[in-house]
C-alpha cells in the first residue's frame, strides 16, 4: 500500500468504524468486542507501519479542498507518526484489557464506540495539518471523553463528566480564538505554510489556554482527578495514553515545530509547568484514593514534558518527546494495575489495602516496574527521558525552574513508593482479593515489560526522536 492509503486508513478506520460498533452489537456481543479490538489493532498497525517510512525521510499528504481556507489536510511526518503510534498502541492494549474489565457493566456498546471514536479523533488530530481541523478533532475527543467519564450514570459521575467537557471545551474555545487570530494575521491555518512564522503573544496565550485545559495543567487541572470516577480503562485512556497527551502534542506541534515563540512566553510556560508539577505531586502525596493519586501524578509528570518541550534546546526537546512515549506506556500500566486492584478489592482507598503482593503477585510486579519507569530509575525508559529533559533544562539555564522540577522529581519518588508500600506491602487488610484475569494481567505485564525494553533499547527511539528534532524543530538551540 502506498503511504497515503495507510494514512487514510489510520484515520478513517477508527472514525468510521466506531460508528458501526452499535451495528456489530446487533449481531452478537462477541462480534462487537472482536470488531472493536480489531479496529484498534488495525489502527495501530497502520500507524506503526508508517514509522520506518518516516525514518527514510518520506512524507505523505492527503488534502481535500474546503472553502475559506478550511482545507482538510492529513499530513504524516516524523512527529505525527510518532504520536499516532504511541497512542494507538496504548489504546489497543486498553481495548484488549477492556474485554474482561468492562464485561459486567452496562452501556458496553457505548463504551466501545466511544473508545474507538476517541482513538479515531486522536489519529485525526495528530495527522491534521490544518489548525481548524486540529480543533475539530480536539472537540470530538472532548465529546468522546464526556461519554466515557460519564460511563457510570449516578448523578455524581455525570456531574464530573459534565465538568470535564465544560473545562476542556472552554479551553478549546479560547484556542479557537487564538487560531482565528493566526488565521487573520497570516491568512491561512495550514501548518505547513505557517512553519517558521512568528505568532503574536495574545494568540499564543489563547492557544496555550486550550492546551493547558486539555493536558490538565494548572490552573485547569481540577477536572482530571475528578474524572477518576470513570472505569480504570477510561482513566488509563484519558489520563495516560491519549487525552492529556493531546495537549503536549499540540504544544510540540504548534510551538515546537511550527511557530517561533518569544523566550518570555516559553519561560512563562516553564513556570506554570513547574508549579503544576510541584502542586500536583504534593496532592499525590496526601490523597488516599489510588486512582486520584495516579491522576495527580499524571498532572505532575505532564509538567516535566512541558519542561522538555519549552526549554528551547534540542536536548530538552528530544527528552520531552521521549518522555511522552515513556509516560504513556508506564502510566497506562499503572492505571490498568489500579483497575485490577480496584476491581478485585472493591475498594479505592489505599489506607484500607495492604499485602496485596501475596495474592496479586504479577500485578504487583507490573505496578513496581511501571512505577520505576515513572520515577526515572535506570535502566527503565523513564530514566533516559527524565535525564535528557533535566540536561536540556540545565543548559537553558534557569536555576529556579530547575530546582522546582528537581523537587518535583523527588516527590514523584516519594508518592510512588508510598503508594506501592500501602497497597502491596504491609499487613493484609482486604478481604480475600484475587489476581485479575489473564487478559488483564497480561496487558499490564506487557506494558511494564515494554517500558523496560524501551530502556534497554533506548537507541532506537532516541534515534527516531533525534531525527525528528533535527528535521522539524524550529528555533531550537543546539548546545552539546
Amino acid at each position: 500500500m502506498d503511504l497515503v492509503t495507510i494514512l487514510k486508513t489510520a484515520v478513517a478506520v477508527p472514525v468510521i468504524g466506531s460508528l458501526l460498533i452499535p451495528v456489530a452489537n446487533k449481531i452478537s456481543v462477541q462480534v462487537r468486542n472482536a470488531y472493536a479490538v480489531a479496529l484498534g489493532l488495525v489502527t495501530f498497525a497502520a500507524a506503526a507501519s508508517l514509522l520506518p517510512h518516516m525514518m527514510n525521510g518520506a512524507t505523505a499528504t492527503y488534502a481535500l479542498s474546503f472553502p475559506l481556507g478550511f482545507d482538510f489536510v492529513l499530513n504524516a511526518d516524523l512527529l505525527s507518526v510518532f504520536m499516532a503510534a504511541i497512542s494507538s498502541f496504548v489504546s489497543a492494549i486498553i481495548l484488549i484489557y477492556s474485554l474482561d474489565y468492562i464485561s459486567h457493566y452496562e452501556n458496553q456498546t457505548e463504551y466501545y464506540t466511544m473508545v474507538v471514536l476517541f482513538l479515531g479523533s486522536m489519529m485525526g488530530l495528530v495527522f491534521s495539518a490544518n489548525l481548524l481541523w486540529m480543533y475539530i478533532f480536539w472537540e470530538l475527543t472532548a465529546f468522546a471523553s464526556w461519554r466515557l467519564v460519564g460511563f457510570f450514570r449516578s448523578d455524581r459521575d455525570v456531574a464530573k463528566a459534565n465538568k470535564t467537557i465544560l473545562v476542556t471545551v472552554f479551553g478549546a474555545l479560547c484556542m479557537l480564538i487564538g487560531i482565528l487570530m493566526v488565521y487573520f494575521d497570516h491568512g491561512t491555518m495550514d501548518l505547513r505554510l505557517l512553519r517558521g512564522e512568528t505568532i503574536t503573544t495574545a494568540a499564543a496565550m489563547l492557544i496555550l489556554v486550550g492546551i493547558l485545559a486539555k493536558s490538565a495543567t494548572l490552573p485547569f487541572s481540577t477536572w482530571l482527578p475528578d474524572a477518576g470516577v470513570a472505569p480504570s480503562t477510561v482513566t488509563a485512556l484519558l489520563h495516560a495514553a491519549v487525552l492529556v497527551k493531546i495537549g503536549v502534542y499540540a504544544y510540540a506541534r504548534i510551538f515546537g515545530v511550527t511557530f517561533m515563540v518569544s523566550p518570555a512566553f516559553s519561560h512563562g510556560v516553564l513556570i506554570i509547568a513547574g508549579l503544576s508539577a510541584l502542586v500536583a505531586a504534593g496532592a499525590a502525596l496526601i490523597d488516599k484514593d489510588i486512582k486520584r493519586i495516579i491522576a495527580y501524578s499524571t498532572v505532575s509528570q505532564l509538567g516535566f514534558i512541558f519542561l522538555g518541550l519549552a526549554s528551547g534546546n534540542k536536548t530538552a526537546f528530544v527528552g520531552g518527546l521521549l518522555y511522552i512515549l515513556m509516560h504513556s506506556i508506564a502510566k497506562g500500566g499503572l492505571f490498568l494495575c489500579a483497575g485490577i486492584v480496584e476491581q478485585n478489592t472493591h475498594n479505592k482507598d489505599i489506607t484500607k489495602m495492604g499485602g496485596l503482593i501475596k495474592t496479586m503477585p504479577i500485578t504487583a510486579v507490573a505496578f513496581a516496574l511501571c512505577s520505576l519507569s515513572v520515577m526515572g530509575i535506570p535502566p527503565f525508559g523513564g530514566f533516559f527521558s527524565k535525564f535528557l529533559v533535566f540536561k536540556g533544562a540545565a543548559q537553558h539555564g534557569s536555576i529556579l525552574v530547575l530546582i522546582i522540577f528537581l523537587a518535583g522529581a523527588m516527590m514523584t519518588l516519594l508518592y510512588l513508593v508510598r503508594l506501592f508500600y500501602l497497597v502491596f506491602l504491609g499487613e493484609d487488610k482486604a478481604s480475600n482479593p484475587r489476581e485479575g484475569s489473564a487478559t488483564m494481567v497480561g496487558s499490564v505485564l506487557a506494558l511494564a515489560l515494554i517500558g523496560l525494553a524501551l530502556g534497554a533499547f533506548i537507541y532506537y527511539p532516541s534515534l527516531y526522536v533525534d531525527m525528528l528534532t533535527t528535521q522539524l524543530g524550529v528555533g531550537l538551540e543546539t548546545i552539546q
Partner: protein, 478 residues
C-alpha cells in the same frame, strides 16, 4: 412576488380549505391530506434544489432570489416533520380537533411561503399577520386551558409588533413612495432622504425584532412555547418565529448595509441586541426547570447569533446568519419534538420529575445529544460551521469583542444542555421514568431524519457553503 414559486403558497392553502370538507366524516383523512401535500411540496423543492442542472446555473432559471428556495425547503421540511409527528402524537386524544389543527398548519405554511417569496413590505405585512393569527389559534389548539393562556400572551405581546410594522410601512410610503424591496434599495443607493427612510425601516425592524423574540422583547416566547400544544411549540420554535421575525430582520439588514454611514447606528444597535439575547437567553436557560421553557430561552440565545450576524451586515455575516437560521430550524425542531416525545412517553417534560430516561427512551436520548451538540457548536455538526462563519465575519468586520463573547457563550450553551441531559436522560430513574417507554418508530422518524440532516449539513459543509455563496450572496447581498 416571485410568481414561479406561487404554487408553494397556493397548494397548501387549497389543502387548508379542502380539509374541513374532505375530513368531515373521516377525521383521519386530515392527517393524510396534510402530510401528502407537504411531502409533495418537499419532494418538489428538493428536486429543484438538488438538480445538478439548476445548481450549475445557480438557480437563475428558477428565481432571481436563491434565499427563497432555501427557506421554502426548510419550511416544508419542518412542517412535514411536525405534521407527521402530530398525526401519531394526537392519537386518540380527544382534546385536539384534527380538522382545524391541520387546516391551520397548512394555512401557516402558505403564509410563510408568502413571506419568503414576496418582494414588497406591504405583502410581507399581510402574510405576517396571517401567520400571527394562525399561530395564535394553533397555540390554543390544546383545549385544556394552558394553551389558551399561552395564546393570549402571544397575542398581547406580539400585537404591538404589528403596530410598529404597520406604522413603519405607512411612513415608508410617505417618504420613499414605494413598498418594493428593489425600489427601496435603489432609493437608498441614490442617497436622497436617508434619515426618513432609516426611521421607517427602523420601525419595521423593531416590529420584527419583537416577533423574533430577541431580548429585551423576549418575554412572550417562553410562555408561548411552554403553553402551546407540544408539537405546536416545535413548529413555532422551529420555523414560525424564524420566518415571521428573523427572516425579515435579515432582509432589512441587507438593505441597511447599503447606507453609507452604517445606517445611523441602527446596525450597531442590532448587534448589541443580538449579543444581549445570546447572553440573557443562555444565562436564563441555565436556571430553567421545565424543558420547554429552557428550550425557549435557548432559542432566544441562538436567535441572538443570527441577529448579531445580521447587524454586522457583511456578505459573509449574512451568509452565516442564513446558514444558522437553517441549522437552528433543524436542531430546535429535534429538541422540541423530543420534549413532546417525553410528554407522550413519560407524561411530563418537567426536568425535576424525570431521570434515567436513557434506558426507556434511547433514541430520544441520542437524538437529543446530537441536537444539543449541534446547538452548542461542537464540530463537525452543522451548528459549528454556521457559528464559525458568524465569528469569522464578526472578527473580520472589526467587532472582535462580540466575536470573542459570542464564542465563549458556547460554553454556557453547552453547560445548560449538559444539565438538561443529565437531569432527564442520565441519573437514577424517578417515579415518572420507571413507567416510561420509547415512543413508536413513526414518531422517531422525523427526529432521526432531522439528526441525519444536522450531520449531513456539517459533513458536506463545502457544498452548502458554495450554495450560499453562489446562489444567495452573489444575487441578493451584493
Amino acid at each position: 412576488m416571485t410568481t414561479s414559486l406561487l404554487a408553494y403558497l397556493l397548494i397548501p392553502l387549497f389543502t387548508a380549505i379542502l380539509i374541513p370538507f374532505a375530513a368531515k366524516t373521516r377525521r383521519k383523512l386530515a392527517d393524510v391530506l396534510a402530510n401528502v401535500t407537504l411531502l409533495a411540496g418537499l419532494l418538489n423543492i428538493s428536486f429543484i434544489l438538488f438538480n445538478p442542472a439548476n445548481i450549475a446555473l445557480s438557480f437563475s432559471n428558477i428565481t432571481e432570489d436563491g434565499f427563497a428556495l432555501l427557506m421554502i425547503f426548510i419550511i416544508y421540511l419542518v412542517a412535514l416533520c411536525v405534521t407527521f409527528f402530530s398525526s401519531y402524537f394526537i392519537g386518540d386524544d380527544s382534546k385536539v380537533n384534527r380538522v382545524p389543527y391541520y387546516s391551520l398548519i397548512m394555512t401557516s405554511v402558505s403564509a410563510m411561503c408568502g413571506i419568503v417569496t414576496t418582494g414588497d413590505f406591504f405583502t410581507l405585512y399581510i402574510f405576517v399577520e396571517v401567520l400571527a393569527v394562525t399561530s395564535f389559534a394553533l397555540i390554543a389548539s390544546d383545549e385544556s386551558g394552558k394553551g389558551l393562556e399561552g395564546a393570549i400572551k402571544y397575542f398581547l405581546l406580539t400585537f404591538p409588533a404589528s403596530l410598529f410594522i404597520l406604522f413603519g410601512i405607512a411612513f415608508l410610503m410617505l417618504t420613499a413612495g414605494t413598498f418594493s424591496f428593489e425600489s427601496i434599495k435603489i432609493i437608498i443607493a441614490s442617497g436622497i432622504p436617508a434619515g426618513a427612510v432609516v426611521f421607517s425601516l427602523s420601525l419595521i425592524l423593531l416590529g420584527f425584532l419583537i416577533k423574533s423574540g430577541v431580548a429585551p422583547f423576549h418575554a412572550w416566547t417562553p410562555d408561548a412555547y411552554e403553553g402551546a400544544y407540544a408539537p405546536v411549540s416545535a413548529y413555532l420554535a422551529g420555523i414560525v418565529t424564524k420566518i415571521s421575525g428573523v427572516y425579515a430582520v435579515i432582509k432589512i439588514s441587507i438593505m441597511l448595509r447599503l447606507f453609507e454611514i452604517k445606517a445611523y447606528h441602527t446596525a450597531e444597535i442590532l448587534m448589541f441586541l443580538g449579543m444581549l439575547s445570546i447572553a440573557i437567553g443562555a444565562l436564563a436557560a441555565l436556571r430553567q426547570k421545565e424543558l420547554k421553557r429552557m428550550l425557549a430561552f435557548s432559542s432566544i440565545s441562538q436567535i441572538g447569533y443570527i441577529i448579531l450576524a445580521a447587524g454586522m451586515g457583511t456578505p459573509l455575516a449574512i451568509l452565516g446568519a442564513i446558514f444558522h437560521l437553517v441549522n437552528h430550524a433543524t436542531f430546535k425542531t429535534v429538541l422540541f419534538l423530543n420534549s413532546a416525545s417525553l410528554e407522550k412517553g413519560a407524561g411530563t417534560s418537567d426536568m425535576r420529575k424525570l431521570g434515567g430516561m436513557e434506558h426507556a427512551m434511547p433514541w430520544t436520548s441520542w437524538t437529543s445529544i446530537v441536537a444539543l451538540l449541534a446547538t452548542a457548536g461542537v464540530p463537525p455538526l452543522s451548528g459549528f460551521w454556521s457559528k464559525l462563519i458568524i465569528i469569522i465575519a464578526l472578527w473580520d468586520g472589526g467587532a472582535k469583542t462580540y466575536a470573542v463573547l459570542a464564542l465563549l457563550f458556547s460554553v454556557v450553551t453547552l453547560a445548560y444542555f449538559m444539565v438538561m441531559q443529565k437531569k432527564i436522560f442520565f441519573g437514577n430513574p424517578t417515579e415518572a421514568s420507571r413507567n416510561a417507554r420509547e415512543v413508536r418508530p413513526a414518531m422517531l422518524a422525523p427526529v432521526v431524519v432531522m439528526c441525519l440532516l444536522i450531520a449531513a449539513l456539517g459533513v458536506f459543509f463545502p457544498y452548502i457553503y458554495s450554495y450560499l455563496v453562489e446562489t444567495i450572496a452573489a444575487r441578493i447581498i451584493l
